[in-house]
């Protein structure tokens, strides 16, 4: 499978990464180089093999469904991009999304 420029553009949009038109050819060739190399996995017979999703063999623990922290608004907001020099912001702000 080889990616065309339209697919590279679509994947970049899905990943929310801006790609300039003049970057597309190089990116396309790099991604195709990597995907071409990955293609060798198709040669492995995996019939009847259960996919391995996690890194450990232990079953994931369940925990009691209760609030374990909170009341730390200032800490949560302390690194907000628009916190300003005077300290934490009061909200996270984004460009207007409702007309």
């Amino acid at each position: 499978m080889s990616l065309d420029t339209a697919t590279v553009r679509r994947v970049a949009s899905l990943a929310r990464i801006r790609v300039e038109e003049d970057e597309l050819p190089r990116l396309q060739s790099e991604l195709n180089g990597i995907l071409g190399w990955i293609e060798q996995l198709q040669a492995v017979n995996t019939d009847g093999v259960e996919p391995m999703a996690g890194g450990g063999t232990q079953a994931l623990r369940l925990r009691e469904d209760r609030v374990t922290d909170g009341g730390i608004q200032q800490q949560v907001l302390a690194n907000a991009p628009d916190a300003g020099p005077e300290g934490a912001a009061v909200f996270f702000s984004v460009p207007k999304v409702v007309e």
Binding site: M1, L3, T7, V8, V11, A12, S13, L14, A15, R16, I17, R18, V19, L27, E30, L31, G33, I34, L35, W37, I38, E39, Q40, L41, Q42, V44, T46, V49, E50, P51, M52, A53, G54, G55, G56, T57, Q58, L60, R61, R63, I72, Q75, V76, A78, N79, A80, P81, D82, F92, V94, P95, K96, V97
Partner: protein
């Protein structure tokens, strides 16, 4: 007398306990070494002298009262992927901007509980994605080793390149690091030091910036195997804040170093003899086999038939998980923000400006392999091959107690070499990715020098949660190899 920066952690503990030097003196010696050499090596992104001296003062008070912990007064470098409350944590990325965590990672909290001193935050590949430390937004790291009669600047390996260079150049007694595909074991080999990636689940991932969550595992780097065991004993342990943390007691790893290898069966995987592997690596491996045999172990040839598929499997699984983990960097709640005409434009401009080339490449690969129509062909297929790679090891454990293999297919290479072809760079991790995919422990031990005077390492792989045998074999190899060479760029040289 040994310079304080040349101490092993075990020696430093004894010297501190006997009050032959104070924790403040030991810390100051390292801070002076950093001041002298870090402008050149760039092993630290952030140096924290005030924090370190304050912690050293507290260590001296604890020592005076006879209340020392296992690491009281031991100066360490902390990979800048571990969140440290109040100290900027960058993951070597522009996108984290001036992020100052309000909380402490479990690993660093455990080290502080045991009395450690933090000298600063060590350089790394951006988000730990790389094998040469070249992708750091804060610049590359110089390997303190040089080829004989040649001043070429060599890479320290990656992603924990700053941690490895700091320990090798005597700018720290030990360091924390993380390993997703070889990021502890490969730089340890390139810099002539020891480093262990523990079993998945042995060390908490809480507060460590995530790359690929099913592969990421933190571990220590130090100049001896025993020092790694001491550090791991402190870093490891059950943590309710990490759902994949193993509910298991932490054994006495340092005690295991003295066990010896008499009667142990050591697997020699024939598939690790890869095409194009330099004769020097093969010779080193044979020497390692002979050393363990002399120490009483029995080498056994084994087969791990899916080894050749480990790297392409890794380069589906790791980018897929990364594309998901790195979705959180959106310019809204923390880190860099680039303004945009609407919300999507803000996201896209922020992520374009904040992530470097390699990180963007991996996010795109990950997004593609997870996207509708390709998920089964790539991601699900990779998860199945991963299961087969793990099965190879499970079958091997029926025949052997541990496995000996090379750590890397070459010694350290020059800065700028191998930067043009992403796949060529990926191949450096050929011997290390298997342990991450299977979730097993792996330890690099410096074992010899190549013909140009650069360090080479061998790797011991072990059964899940059997780091003790790994340490026993590693220590035996270390004693036999008697690696005493030092890099030309180092403190007190």
């Amino acid at each position: 007398m040994t310079a304080p920066t040349d101490f092993t952690i075990a020696e430093a503990r004894t010297a501190l306990a006997k009050r032959e030097l104070s924790a403040t003196e030991l810390t100051q010696a390292h801070l002076s070494a950093i001041e002298a050499l870090n402008p050149r090596l760039n092993a630290y992104i952030t140096v924290t002298p005030e924090v370190a001296l304050q912690q050293a003062k507290a260590a001296d008070a604890a020592l005076a009262k006879g209340e020392a912990g296992p690491l009281t007064g031991i100066p360490l470098a902390i990979k800048d992927l571990f969140c440290t409350a109040g100290t900027r944590t960058t993951a070597a990325s522009k996108i984290l901007g001036n992020f100052v965590p309000p909380y402490e990672s479990t690993v660093t909290a455990n080290l502080l509980r045991d009395g450690a001193v933090f000298l600063g935050k060590a350089n790394l590949d951006e988000f730990a994605m790389g094998s040469s430390n070249a992708t750091s937004a804060f610049g590359g790291v110089e390997n303190p080793w040089k080829r004989t009669g040649d001043d070429t600047v060599l890479v320290p390996g990656g992603s924990s390149g700053g941690s490895a260079a700091a320990v090798a150049a005597r700018l720290a007694l030990g360091a924390t690091a993380t390993d997703t595909g070889g990021s502890i074991r490969q730089p340890a080999a390139f810099c002539g030091i020891a480093g262990i990636k523990p079993t998945y689940g042995r060390v908490s991932r809480f507060g460590t910036v995530a790359f690929a969550s099913s592969l990421d595992q933190a571990g220590p780097m130090a100049r001896t195997v025993e020092d790694c065991a001491i550090l791991l004993g402190s870093m490891a342990g059950f943590d309710p804040k990490d759902s994949t943390s193993a509910q298991m007691a932490v054994p006495d790893f340092a005690a295991a170093c003295a066990r010896g290898v008499k009667g142990l069966r050591i697997g020699i995987p024939k598939e690790y003899r890869v095409p194009g592997m330099p004769a020097e690596i093969e010779a080193l491996w044979q020497q390692g086999i002979a050393m363990l045999k002399d120490a009483g172990a029995e080498p056994v040839e084994i087969s791990l038939p899916h080894t050749q598929y480990a790297l392409p499997t890794y380069y589906i699984v790791a980018p897929a998980e990364a594309s998901s983990n790195l979705a959180r960097y959106d310019g809204v709640r923390f880190g860099l923000r680039e303004e945009g005409s609407d919300l999507k434009d803000l996201y896209e401009r922020t992520r374009r400006a904040g992530f470097g080339d390699e990180v963007r490449r991996r996010i795109l690969i990950g997004t593609y392999v997870l996207s509708a129509g390709y998920y089964d062909a790539y991601y699900l297929k990779a998860q199945k091959v991963r299961a087969l790679i793990k099965r190879d090891f499970d079958e091997a454990w029926g025949k052997v107690d541990a496995i000996l293999a090379p750590a890397t297919p070459s010694a350290a290479f020059g800065q700028g070499e191998m930067q043009d072809d992403p796949v060529a760079m990926y191949l450096i991790d050929v011997f290390t990715v298997t342990a991450n995919l299977a979730g097993i422990p792996g330890l690099t031990v410096p074992t010899g020098l190549d013909s140009k005077g650069l360090p080479l390492g061998l790797q011991i792989l072990g059964k899940p949660f059997d780091e003790e045998t790994v340490f026993a074999v590693g220590s035996a190899l270390e004693r036999a190899a008697n690696f005493t060479a030092t890099p030309s760029v180092r403190a007190a040289a």
